[in-house]
């Protein structure tokens, strides 16, 4: 069944979509970043000026640092998903229930989640501080405190993804390990750590690596919704992520070229990770 025309016909709809919605916009973004355009006046070519300003802009640097710090949640998340997958891999009803419970945050719309967590983090009346009050712990101001706002955001990011699709990946990966290996190891009395190192890790290593890679890409690129809905960029811009900065520049302050430059720089930041992903490309 070889026929160029037929093959193309099947691929054409998706491919046209990809060209129009991914490739052309990407090129357009790179071009836009070379202009200064505020929508109400015609665009003016400024070359690499936007980039020069951007790299010296303390707001950009702070957003970059914030994003990188927030992406530190990724290893925690991968480790957590792995641990949960390990913990919940049986098919007993109890385990099925638990798997459903930890999958809940993935199902619930992030918008609803962030709004919910914002009310939990209220300084006086939020659930968290009231609980801490009961126990007698002096609670920080969470979302009103520049130091703690990032921690709050990381908690939410961790909570919402730890039992999600990543855990399912690991679950299925673990299921491929023959059950006898499990039992033999436990019968032999191997402690958990050695079991992980000798049995699980070799099977899961590439899976973990891939998820880490994907996770970092997602963390650097994302974070817009949580910044927009939960913290508004954070007290003193402590939770402004790069994607939030892009939105602000392009859609609020109407600095289109500047916003596009932020986007291009974000792409450059994740390109080493993308190169890794390329290396892990599907075998043909």
């Amino acid at each position: 069944m070889t026929d160029t025309r037929r093959g193309l016909a099947f691929v054409a709809p998706l491919f046209t979509g990809v060209v129009f919605f991914c490739l052309i916009p990407a090129a357009a973004c790179a071009v836009l970043s070379l202009f200064r355009w505020s929508l109400t006046s015609p665009p003016s070519f400024v070359g690499l000026e936007n980039y020069r300003t951007l790299l010296g802009d303390p707001l950009f640097l702070q957003a970059a640092i914030n994003t990188l710090i927030l992406s530190l949640v990724v290893p925690l998340q991968v480790a957590g998903s792995f641990a949960l997958a390990l913990f919940l891999r049986r098919t007993t009803p109890w385990h099925r229930l638990l798997r459903l419970v930890v999958f809940l945050p993935t199902l619930v719309s992030p918008v609803a989640l962030y709004i919910m967590w914002r009310s939990i983090f209220f300084a006086d009346m939020g659930l968290l501080n009231r609980l801490l009050d009961l126990v007698g712990v002096a609670a920080p101001l969470w979302l009103e405190d520049p130091g703690w706002a990032k921690a709050a955001v990381m908690v939410v990011l961790l909570w919402e993804s730890i039992g999600g699709f990543q855990m399912l990946f690991f679950l299925a990966g673990l299921r491929q390990i023959p059950e006898q290996l499990h039992d033999m190891a436990r019968l032999d009395g191997l402690p958990l750590r050695r079991r992980i190192r000798d049995i699980y890790w070799p099977w899961m290593r590439s899976l973990v690596g891939f998820n880490l890679c994907l996770g970092f890409i997602g963390a650097i690129q994302g974070g817009f919704e949580i910044a927009f809905l939960m913290t508004g960029g954070g007290p003193l811009r402590s939770t402004t992520t790069l994607s939030y900065l892009l939105y602000e520049n392009a859609f609020q302050w109407q600095k289109m070229g500047y916003g596009a430059a932020v986007g291009v720089l974000m792409f450059l930041m994740i390109s080493p990770l993308l190169a890794l992903k390329w290396k892990g490309a599907p075998r043909d």
């Binding site: 070889t2 093959g7 719309s109 709004i115 909570w159 299925a172 899976l207």
Partner: protein
Amino acid sequence: MTDGPTPSITRRLGALAGGLGLILVFITPFVWMIATSLKSNAEMFDGASGLGMLLPKAWRWQNYREIFTLIPFGRYLANSAFTASVSALLETGLAALAGFGLGILRWKGREQVHRLLFLSWLIPFSVVLIPRFFMMLQLPDILPGTDFWTAHRVLPAGSHEMAVGRLLGLDSFFTLVVPASVSVTATFLLITAMERIPHQILDAAYLETGSRYRVFRDMVLPLVTPTLVTVAFIAFLSSWQSFTWPLLVTSTLTMQTATVGLRAFQTLHSTQWPLLMAGSVVLTLPSLGFLLLAQTFVIDRYQLSELTEHRI
């Protein structure tokens, strides 16, 4: 299937405690959300401590009625549902077709197209966001007959009319659905799934029917149904939950989706938290329903073998 030797009591207790801990950590915020949604405004900030936090004094069920009367939340939900379903169907369809073309058919130029698709897979969302927005904005202006595309449309429904937005441009279902339905991930998933089908079967079928399309429809699709369902589920979920794109491209009361519409409670009546929570609860229910439907396909029988091969 045995689960191995009976674990000791301490291990069992430990596992039980761990499980309860998980339930506590994951369920409590939802209980809080539901409890808040049933409180009255004043009660929310009353400062009750202990279990009183989680139990409203007077169960204000009319909050759930109010969210539908104060803003057209029902319409928002319908918009979300429509967008998500159409998006899921479109995405699955496009990916299946392309998957067949790339995974099973062999033709000149296949490698290049595959590589190009992979390249576009690497392009992050933040880079395409701004140009996509302008592209969809300007589309009606580029095409002939701008007014035709940008007129607000209504659909007669019984005695009144239902506004259905424009055909193209801002506030149109086209803009909400189509850009997000182009998914290379789904395509790759399906390619991997389809590649596992033995060639001989397909060649035989082709010789019999003489039509590639029929091979696609009658042989390949049934064989990859679990993956199709997975792809559709993920597509539905991600469209249901999407926020940034609807935020940018919808503005009228009738065209917003539920995720964006929920924010109306923050600006309209100065953050009515109980109503906001009630809206969030209602927003969750369809996803839960969809999950229970897809539970057998997704969580327990997650067909990962295709995925792991593809990743590794």
